[in-house]
């Protein structure tokens, strides 16, 4: 890991020079991509017309609407975190630790809401619980009420859909921790005479706390950073959160200092996320201690006995409500001939899909989003390999700083990156025009998603013993050849999973793109969102159905492919 000593004396000068060159190149790229936009953001928040000022903060905190939006974000974040974490805990326990029916199936079905773009999820729920939503109308007819009973837009709607979108994150983290926990600790305690309550209090909770804590933090940061769900479920009920407020300042209100106020709100939102991140560091530090218990060989399943069927039915109902019902709602809306007519067979039509297929913006946005979803992961993976290589090679000055720069946007909500990108690129820089082109989306996506392949490539490279690379070098291969023929083939797993981790969110990204799209450069997410905003309910439903089909089938395809690769990896010699 530390070959700072020159291998051949005569090359010393040359090596140092090229190391400096790559350092300059790398920091130039990171500076342009990451540091320059973020510094524009900070400058904009702390200045007014070019001079240092706190006027923006005064403006933010003296306007009741802005303060309310900050409070709404915090309040929603905390509520969603509590509910989603509790749901995830209960579901994880049932699915991992009891003999409920269909455990394997539930493990897959319960995470489906996580694949579906959140703005589609929110839109689907408006079709269920909106004033004329299917559920609302059903209840109204059942009890012959004068009006539909449920009013969903506002706080409750935002919480409902946010919980459904975020609980799968927590479910994945917590159920993995439960699988690793094993039953021997609990058994030992029980044998020693502890009551069931004592076992839960003294053994189960402390061991799970790190996983639950870090899951809760992820849920909180995700919730306060979200744009699509509050824009669709909150705004129509006059429930504005920070992200939708920022969007209002950038995209709508005519305030002479709108951009400054937006950046100031963005700084406060960034503060929320940073506090969350600090908490997460705290929890994950503890997790190291917890995993000492290791993965237990056997996992005793609790016998639910007479509760086995009721519990299975309850979990199936839950999955039906959060997965099947919303998908049914948009599918039904996309097929209905006209709004307001009853849902009968003769009122069904494929017209809306036909209209959709004829719209040039739909074809264009598919092209744009697929290009972004293919090239952005490719660029970020190449970048991650180069940065990790330089760090591992150990010669480049400043090699350890790159991680910090690249991780920065992890804590930065998408809408904040969007604002930073506008500020940075609205005017041509050195004659290069980025604003109003598709390239601003590329820049923003790269900044946003670079962290994923950095993590996965870094992790799998870390497992690689340097003796393999040294063997390559001793056999006379150049460093680049060793990289190509030895290192990269051995870290395919990290490269592949990093690529996928970027591909999926990039395909349907909305939060960043909503501020950055321009004519001809629309993305899938923004096009669908704008259709929903315009009130093209049937066409938007057809589009949502199309997107959902594409996303879910791609997910299944990648799942099958990666399972095949895993099997191959098991057969390969362990590294």
């Amino acid at each position: 890991m530390n070959p700072t000593a020159p291998r051949k004396g005569c090359h010393v000068k040359h090596v140092r020079f090229s190391a400096w060159i790559s350092s300059v190149a790398v920091y130039f790229a990171l500076g342009v991509l990451f540091l320059y936009p973020m510094s524009r953001l900070v400058i904009s928040a702390f200045t007014r017309e070019g001079s240092l000022s706190l006027a923006n903060f005064t403006a933010v905190f003296s306007n009741p609407s802005n303060v309310r939006s900050l409070w709404n974000s915090l309040y929603t974040g905390v509520t969603v975190t509590v509910i989603a974490t509790v749901i995830a805990l209960v579901l994880s326990w049932i699915v991992v630790r009891t003999n409920v029916y269909g455990r394997k199936l539930f493990q897959f079905v319960l995470v489906i809401p996580f694949f579906i773009p959140p703005f589609i999820m929110a839109f689907a729920w408006t079709r269920l619980l909106g004033r004329a939503g299917f559920v609302n109308v059903f209840i109204q007819q059942l009890f012959s009420l004068p009006q539909s009973p449920i009013r969903i837009f506002g706080f409750f709607g935002v919480v409902l859909v946010s919980v459904i979108y975020t609980y799968p994150y927590a479910f994945i983290v917590i159920s993995r921790a439960m699988e690793n926990m094993g039953a021997h600790l609990e058994e030992a305690a029980q044998i020693s005479g502890a009551s069931r309550f004592q076992v839960v209090r003294d053994i189960v909770l402390p061991v799970l706390l790190p996983a639950v804590g870090s899951a809760a933090v992820i849920v909180f940061v995700t919730t306060v950073s979200m744009f699509g769900i509050p824009a669709i479920m909150g705004t129509p009920g006059q429930f504005i959160v920070v992200t939708t407020r920022i969007y209002g300042y950038v995209g709508g209100f005519r305030d002479p200092f709108g951009m400054n106020i937006a950046t100031t709100l963005a700084m406060v939102l960034l503060g929320f996320a940073l506090v969350g991140l600090l908490l997460q560091n705290f929890f994950t530090r503890k997790e190291n201690f917890a995993t000492i218990t290791g993965k237990s060989g056997h996992l005793e399943l609790m016998d639910l006995r007479k509760w086995r069927i009721p519990v299975s039915v309850a979990v199936a109902l839950f999955a039906g409500v959060v997965v099947v019902l919303p998908l049914f709602a948009i599918a039904a809306t996309s097929l209905i001939r006209a709004l307001g007519v009853p849902l009968t067979l003769e009122n069904l039509t494929f017209d809306h899909f036909r209209r959709l297929a004829d719209m040039s913006i739909v074809q264009r946005s598919f092209n744009n989003s697929f290009s972004l979803a293919v090239f952005v992961p490719t660029i970020t993976v190449i970048g991650a390999v180069i940065l990790t290589f330089l760090k591992r090679q150990g010669r480049m000055p400043g090699r350890n700083g790159t991680d910090y720069i690249v991780s920065m946007p992890y804590a930065v909500p998408g809408i904040v990156i969007g604002v930073a990108m506008i500020l940075a690129w609205i005017r041509p820089v050195f004659g290069i025009r980025v604003f109003n082109t598709i390239w601003i989306l590329y820049l923003a996506y790269i900044v946003r998603f670079m962290i994923f392949p950095m993590r996965t490539v870094g992790a799998s490279w870390k497992q690689l013993d340097s003796s393999l690379e040294e063997a390559g070098r001793i056999s006379g291969a150049s460093e680049v050849r060793t990289l190509r023929d030895v290192s990269i083939p051995l870290i395919y797993g990290g490269i592949g999973s990093g690529w996928l981790l970027v591909f999926m969110p990039a395909l349907t990204e909305l939060t960043l793109s909503i501020l950055l799209v321009s004519p001809r450069n629309e993305t899938i997410g923004v096009t669908a969102f704008n259709m929903m905003q315009e009130g093209l309910i049937t066409v938007a439903s057809a589009y949502a159905v199309m997107i959902t089909i594409v996303v879910v089938s791609l997910n299944i395809a990648f799942r099958v492919l990666s399972r095949r690769r895993d099997r191959r990896a098991v057969n390969a010699p362990s590294i």
Partner: protein, 337 residues
């Protein structure tokens, strides 16, 4: 190592080149071919239908549609003007006051489309810098399953029978609603008191007119303010809706279309505005429920002649000078952020 440096440099250079290439505009010799961009607050599906017809009549021409609600569209346009990078060739949206200031600032191109001869004089604005291409009104639309009595007046929206079931587009999205506010508050029969009564009736202020029209068709709202052609379209599709022109006066919403002075293809842009006023363009608009502006076109069935429709008067200077005050007070009354 040298190769790696080389690779990095090549990578950076190619990205830079790609940027440069992306920012270059295509220029063609044939004035009636090429690509122009339309910024509009028109419904996306209707704009697409118009563009399809235009492209069919002018092979080689491409019109890209960029659609947002008027308020967002204007914010976008202002940002672009400030940045010196205007993406629009043709603009068409419901903000007369802004068109006026564009005309004063020389941002609009004076054009002379031949079809202008077929539209009434009052619909040619600012000495030929902008044109009305069809007539729209903000009217009262209602769901016939939910409303059983006769509707005639703005104040029917304040009827407690419809409490919580009244919808209207937000002035933060809809240019028509901004026009409406400026007209209503200056009308002796209506005024701010109308809005106070609507707020007391828990009226929902949300999104654009399209969403309100669809919401009324769905039964989300029993009654609400939206645009006349949307009501006609919904009716034709079989939705249980009807609409009336308010007896105190409907809101006439000018939606000028014009060509930006910064366009790189003035011929094609002018041709597109001309097409909107021409018979083929007017036919597409009428198919989608609009009232034509071309004097040679018949009125849609069951629609009164524009001369017989009562309208509120709108003072554009008042609107331009008091826009922020109007929006602030409206937002305060309805408690919208």
């Amino acid at each position: 190592m040298r190769k790696l440096v080389l690779l990095t440099v090549v990578f950076l250079v190619s990205v830079t080149l790609a940027f440069a290439a992306g920012s270059r505009e295509e220029v063609s010799d044939d004035p009636m071919s090429g690509t122009i961009t339309l910024y509009t607050s028109e419904s996306l599906t209707d704009a697409q239908a118009l563009v399809d017809r235009f492209e069919q009549l002018n092979p080689g021409a491409t019109v890209e549609v960029f659609r947002l609600g008027t308020t967002e569209l204007v914010a976008r346009l202002m940002t672009e003007i400030e940045a010196g990078e205007v993406g629009a060739d043709v603009v068409w949206f419901a903000d007369m006051a802004l068109f006026e200031s564009f005309a004063e600032d020389g941002l609009l191109l004076p054009i002379n489309p031949s079809e202008a001869a077929n539209i009434p004089e009052g619909f040619v604005y600012f000495d030929g810098m902008a044109y009305e291409v069809r007539l729209i009104y903000q009217i009262i639309m209602y769901n016939t399953n939910l409303v059983n009595r006769e509707i005639t007046s703005w104040f029917d929206l304040a009827d407690p029978e419809f409490r919580g079931m009244v919808g209207s587009a937000s002035p933060f999205v809809s240019g028509a609603t901004v026009t409406q506010i400026a007209s209503v508050v200056q009308d002796p029969n209506l005024g701010w008191t109308l809005y106070e009564q609507l707020a007391a009736n828990d009226a929902v202020i949300s999104g654009g007119n399209g969403g309100i029209a669809q919401g009324i068709a769905l039964g989300e709202y029993a009654i609400g303010l939206t645009i006349d052609f949307m009501a006609r379209t919904q009716q034709e599709q079989g939705s249980p809706v009807n609409y009336i022109f308010q007896e105190e006066g409907a809101v006439y919403v000018p939606t000028p279309a014009g060509v930006m002075a910064s366009t790189s293809n003035p011929e094609l842009s002018t041709a597109f505005v001309n097409f909107l006023m021409s018979e083929p363009g007017q036919e597409v608009l009428m198919d989608n429920g609009y009232m034509p502006v071309n004097v040679n076109m018949p009125l849609p069935e069951g629609v009164p002649s524009p001369a017989d429709i009562p309208v509120l008067s709108t003072d554009w200077d008042f609107l331009a000078e008091n826009r922020e005050m109007l929006l602030d007070r409206f937002a305060e009354i309805f408690g919208i952020d």
